[in-house]
C-alpha cells in the first residue's frame, strides 16, 4: 500500500513539473535533470551554462549576447549533421547539441536562441535568420544565424558560429538574409493543440521548439 502511495506521489510530481513546463517557467532543476538524462557531457555543460545564465541575469543585453555566443562557440565544434546524427538534416535541441558537443549552423542558432530566452530576453528581440553566406573560398552557401534586434529595431546584431565576435549586420557583408522567424506566434497559435499532438511537430522548427520546451527552456 505504501509503495502504491509513493507511486501516486511521483506521478503527481511529474504532472506538476510538466504543467510548469507547459506554463513556460524556467526551472533550473528541470534543465539539470534533462541534461543529466541526456548524458554526462550534457550534464557538465549544462552546469556551466546554468551558472553563466545566473550571472548574466544582471548584465545588459549586449553582455548577455556576448556571454552566450562565446559559450556555445567554445563548447560546440562544427560538424555536419551526417557526421553527428547520421541524418541528412537534423535540428537538435540545445541539450542534444551539448551532449554531442557538435552541431551545424542551425544547432548553434537554436541553442543560443533558447539560452537567451532562458536568461529572460524577450522573444520579440530575437530572430533566427536564413542567410546566404559568401565564404572566402568557394560558392555561396546556405547558413543560419541568430539576429538580435534592440529596442530601436534598427541595425541587428548577428550571433554566428563562423565568426568569433558579435558584429552588427551592416558590417557582415558576406551575409544576405532571406527569411527570419522565431517562436513568438507558435504558442499563441497552437494554444488549443497540446505539445503532445504529433500534428504540432510536423515542421522541424515546431518539433525542436517542442523538444526544447520539454527540456525546460521557455
Amino acid at each position: 500500500m505504501r509503495s502504491r502511495g509513493l507511486a501516486w506521489l511521483r506521478l503527481a510530481g511529474a504532472a506538476l513539473v510538466l504543467s510548469a513546463g507547459v506554463a513556460g517557467a524556467v526551472d533550473d532543476t528541470r534543465l539539470q535533470r534533462s541534461a543529466a538524462l541526456a548524458g554526462p557531457q550534457a550534464a557538465r555543460a549544462m552546469g556551466q551554462l546554468l551558472s553563466l545564465m545566473d550571472s548574466a541575469q544582471a548584465l545588459p543585453p549586449t553582455a548577455q549576447l556576448q556571454a552566450v555566443n562565446r559559450f556555445f562557440n567554445a563548447n560546440v565544434r562544427f560538424a555536419p549533421d551526417s557526421q553527428v546524427w547520421a541524418q541528412e538534416d537534423h535540428w537538435a535541441s540545445p541539450i542534444e547539441t551539448l551532449q554531442k558537443g557538435a552541431g551545424d549552423c542551425e544547432d548553434y542558432a537554436i541553442a543560443k536562441y533558447f539560452s537567451l530566452l532562458a536568461i529572460g530576453m524577450p522573444a520579440a528581440h530575437l530572430r533566427l535568420v536564413y542567410v546566404r553566406v559568401q565564404l572566402t573560398q568557394g560558392p555561396a552557401q546556405a547558413h543560419m544565424v541568430l539576429a538580435y534586434y534592440g529596442e530601436a529595431l534598427g541595425d541587428a546584431l548577428i550571433l554566428d558560429n563562423l565568426v568569433e565576435d558579435i558584429e552588427p549586420a551592416s558590417r557582415r557583408t558576406d551575409l544576405s538574409p532571406v527569411f527570419s522567424f522565431n517562436s513568438e506566434g507558435l504558442w499563441q497559435g497552437v494554444g488549443a493543440v497540446a505539445a503532445g499532438n504529433p500534428l504540432a511537430r510536423l515542421s522541424r522548427w515546431r518539433d525542436v521548439v517542442a523538444r526544447a520546451r520539454t527540456e525546460g527552456f521557455p
Binding site: L153, F181, V190, A192
Partner: protein, 646 residues
C-alpha cells in the same frame, strides 16, 4: 415488470446509448482534427505570405499587391499586415461563410482556430507581421457530414440488431408463455401436462412441473383405487358379489330418476325353499349356489350400461335393466341359463322370476313393491315360472303424447310461466352455503307449478332442454341480483352436448359478472366421462366468467375421480346413496372418510346431498364435509326431487 419487458428495455436502452455514444465521441474527436487542420493551414499560409513579402524589397505597394494576390486566389478569411509596432497597415477580409452544417452543430463543436503569425523583413530589418486566418467552415462541414454518416450507419446497425433481437425474444416468449400457462392451470387446480419446450432452462422447469403433476395424479389414482376396493367391501354382499339391499334401493332410486321414456325393467330371482336346500347340500353348498346365481346376474352390468344387481334378502336377487321391453326376454334367458347352472350344483334347486316393465317416476321401494307382487304370482304358478307386469298406461302416455308434451313445454317456456324452486344447502358452521335452484313450469295460468322431475325427461326428448336450462340460469342470475345470495343450478348433459350452448351460457354469465361470481353451475358426474372435451371447454369459459363449477350425483365412479382434475372443477356433490348409514356402518364411514380426503387433496369442496337423519349429518360434519342438504332444512310443501333428472 415482466422478464420479457425488462429484456426489451435493456436491449433498446443499450442500442440507444451505443448510438449516442458513438456519434458523440466521433464528433468530439473530429473536432480536434478539424481544429488542427485549420490551425496548420493558418500557420503555413502566414509563413508562405511572409516569405513572399520578404522578397519584395520593402516596396509597400508591391507587398500589398502580393498580399491581395494571395488572398484573392486562396481560401482565406482574413489577411492582415501589421507594422512592427503592432499597428494595422493593410487588411483583406472575406465574409464569414456559414457552411452547410446547422447552427446548433457549429455552436456545439465551436472550432476557434488562432490566426497564423509570421514576420516580414527586408534584408535585416523587420518591417512587419502578417496574420492569416482561414475559413473554419469547411472543416466543420466535413465533420458534420461524417457525423451524419456515422449516425446513419449506427442507426442502421441498431435497426438490424433490434430486428434480430426481436425475433430471438419472440422465440423465447412462446415457450415462456406455455410454461406460465401450465403454472396458471396448476393454480386453478387443473393439473395439466405440458409439452417440453426446446430452451433447456424452460425444459427443466416444465419437466419438473410435469413430473410433479404425474406424481400427484399417481397418488390420487392410488387413493381412488383403494377407495374403490373399500367401497366394494362396504357395499357388496360377500356370498353373491352383488350390492346390498340398502345401497341397491338407493341406486335404484337414482336410476329410476333418469329412466328412459318408455320406462325401465326390474327382475327379481327368488330361490325357493332355502331351508330344504340347506339340509340337502349344507350351508357351503347353498352359498355356492347363490354365488353361481349372482355370477350369472353379474354378467348383465358388464354388457349393459346402467344395469344394476343387488341382493335383497337371503333368497331374492334383483336385476335392474335401464332399457325398455327387455324384461321378458331377459327373464327367459336368465331362467334357461340358471336352470342348467343350478342343476350341476343341486338337482332339487328351484327358482322363480318376477319382473315389472315400464317403470318410471317411481322410487326404488315402489318399484320393488310392484315387482314383488309379480314375484308372488310367479311363485304361485310354480318352479321356474316367469311373471312380468307391465304398466302399459304409463308407457303409452309417455310415448304417444310426445307432440303434446312439446307443445306444452314450448308454450310454458316461451311465455315464461316459470318459477325458481330453492333448496338451502348449509355449511359446516350452520350458515347458508348456497341455494340449490331448479325450474318449475306452469302449463296454464292458475295451474300449479310442476317440478322438474316430472317434465325434464320429456324436455330432453323434445330437445327443449337447452331452452329450459337457459331459463333457469337467467332466473337464478336475476334472483342473485336482487338478494346477493349464492345459488346453484343444474344443467343437463344433453344441453351441454348441443351446439352453441356453452357459448350462450358464457354470454349470459358475461352480461352479469357480479351475479355470475355468486353462481355455481352443476352437471351430473356421468357428463364428465361422456362429454369430457365439452366439459373442459365449458369449464374454461364459465369459470373464466366468474362462476363456479361442480359435479352432482357423484361418488359412483371413484376410479375416474383423479381424471376430473384436468377439467377444472370447484366442488363435488356426493349422492345420498353413497352416504347412507355412514353413522352406523364402519365400512361406509371409512369409505366416506377416504373419499373426503381424496377430494380435499384435489382441492375440491365436498357437499352432501339428501342427508335424511341427524346422526348421519353429525358424522358428515365430523368427516369434513363442506356443506349438506336434505332433512336439515324445511322443504317446500309441494316440492318434488331436489334436482332434475338426467
Amino acid at each position: 415488470m415482466s422478464l420479457i419487458r425488462q429484456i426489451w428495455l435493456l436491449l433498446f436502452g443499450l442500442l440507444l446509448a451505443a448510438l449516442l455514444a458513438a456519434v458523440a465521441t466521433h464528433a468530439w474527436m473530429g473536432r480536434h482534427g478539424a481544429l488542427a487542420q485549420v490551425q496548420s493551414r493558418n500557420d503555413d499560409g502566414a509563413m508562405m505570405l511572409a516569405l513572399a513579402l520578404s522578397q519584395q524589397g520593402g516596396d509597400a505597394q508591391r507587398m500589398q499587391l502580393v498580399a491581395s494576390a494571395l488572398f484573392d486566389t486562396g481560401d482565406y478569411r482574413k489577411l492582415r499586415l501589421l507594422q512592427p509596432d503592432g499597428s494595422a497597415w493593410f487588411e483583406r477580409a472575406a465574409a464569414d461563410v456559414a457552411g452547410a452544417a446547422p447552427a446548433w452543430f457549429r455552436r456545439l463543436v465551436a472550432v476557434e482556430p488562432m490566426p497564423g503569425i509570421a514576420w516580414v523583413s527586408h534584408g535585416w530589418a523587420p518591417i512587419g507581421q502578417v496574420q492569416v486566418s482561414s475559413h473554419a467552415a469547411w472543416a466543420i462541414d466535413a465533420l458534420w457530414a461524417s457525423c451524419l454518416a456515422m449516425a446513419l450507419a449506427m442507426a442502421l446497425l441498431a435497426a438490424v440488431a433490434a430486428a434480430v433481437s426481436w425475433r430471438l425474444v419472440r422465440s423465447w416468449q412462446r415457450p415462456l408463455d406455455a410454461v406460465l400457462a401450465q403454472a396458471q392451470a396448476l393454480e386453478e387446480r387443473r393439473f395439466v401436462i405440458a409439452d417440453e419446450p426446446r430452451l433447456p432452462d424452460l425444459r427443466r422447469l416444465t419437466r419438473g412441473m410435469n413430473s410433479l403433476v404425474r406424481r400427484l395424479q399417481a397418488v390420487l389414482a392410488d387413493q381412488a383405487e383403494q377407495l374403490d376396493a373399500l367401497r366394494e367391501q362396504a357395499y357388496t354382499d360377500a356370498v353373491t358379489g352383488l350390492t346390498r339391499r340398502r345401497q341397491f334401493v338407493g341406486q335404484l332410486d337414482t336410476a329410476l330418476r333418469s329412466a328412459p321414456v318408455g320406462g325401465a325393467g326390474l327382475l327379481i330371482v327368488r330361490v325357493l325353499d332355502l331351508a330344504a336346500m340347506n339340509r340337502r347340500i349344507g350351508h357351503a353348498g347353498t352359498d355356492a349356489l347363490l354365488g353361481a346365481v349372482g355370477q350369472v346376474l353379474q354378467a348383465y352390468p358388464k354388457h349393459v350400461t346402467g344395469a344394476l344387481t343387488g341382493r335383497l334378502n337371503g333368497t331374492d336377487l334383483a336385476l335392474f335393466l335401464p332399457a325398455t321391453g327387455m324384461a321378458a326376454d331377459t327373464a327367459r334367458s336368465l331362467v334357461d341359463a340358471l336352470r342348467a347352472a343350478l342343476a350341476t350344483v343341486d338337482v332339487g334347486a328351484e327358482l322363480v322370476v318376477g319382473g315389472s316393465e315400464g317403470l318410471s317416476g317411481l322410487t326404488g321401494s315402489e318399484a320393488l313393491a310392484r315387482t314383488d307382487s309379480a314375484l308372488a304370482r310367479a311363485e304361485e304358478r310354480g318352479a321356474f315360472a316367469i311373471e312380468i307386469s307391465t304398466d302399459t298406461v304409463h308407457a303409452l302416455a309417455a310415448a304417444g303424447g310426445e307432440q303434446q308434451w312439446q307443445r306444452l313445454l314450448g308454450a310454458a317456456l316461451d311465455a315464461s310461466r316459470t318459477r325458481l324452486a330453492e333448496v338451502p344447502v348449509l355449511g359446516a358452521d350452520g350458515r347458508l352455503l348456497h341455494l340449490q335452484c331448479s325450474l318449475r313450469l306452469q302449463w296454464q295460468d292458475g295451474d300449479r307449478f310442476h317440478p322438474a322431475a316430472s317434465w325434464l325427461p320429456m324436455a330432453q326428448r323434445c330437445r327443449l332442454a337447452p331452452q329450459a336450462d337457459r331459463a333457469v340460469l337467467a332466473l337464478a342470475l336475476a334472483a342473485i341480483a336482487v338478494d346477493r345470495q349464492p345459488r346453484c343450478v343444474m344443467l343437463t348433459s344433453t344441453s351441454l352436448a348441443s351446439a352453441g350452448f356453452v357459448s350462450s351460457v358464457h354470454a349470459q354469465l358475461a352480461a352479469a359478472p357480479e351475479e355470475a361470481a355468486c353462481l355455481s353451475i352443476e352437471l351430473r358426474e356421468s357428463t364428465a366421462s361422456r362429454h369430457a372435451a365439452r366439459l373442459r371447454q365449458a369449464s374454461a369459459l364459465w369459470r373464466g366468467a366468474g362462476a363456479r363449477l361442480g359435479l352432482s350425483q357423484a361418488g359412483s365412479n371413484l376410479r375416474e375421480l383423479p381424471r376430473l382434475h384436468t377439467l377444472g372443477i370447484d366442488y363435488m356433490r356426493i349422492d345420498a346413496t353413497h352416504l347412507q348409514e355412514v353413522s352406523s356402518e364402519a365400512a361406509v364411514h371409512e369409505l366416506v372418510r377416504g373419499l373426503v380426503r381424496l377430494l380435499h387433496g384435489m382441492g375440491l369442496q365436498v357437499l352432501a346431498d339428501g342427508v335424511d337423519n341427524h346422526d348421519d349429518l353429525a358424522v358428515l360434519w365430523q368427516l369434513g364435509f363442506d356443506g349438506a342438504s336434505g332433512v336439515i332444512a324445511p322443504v317446500d310443501a309441494d316440492a318434488g326431487a331436489a334436482s332434475g333428472a338426467t
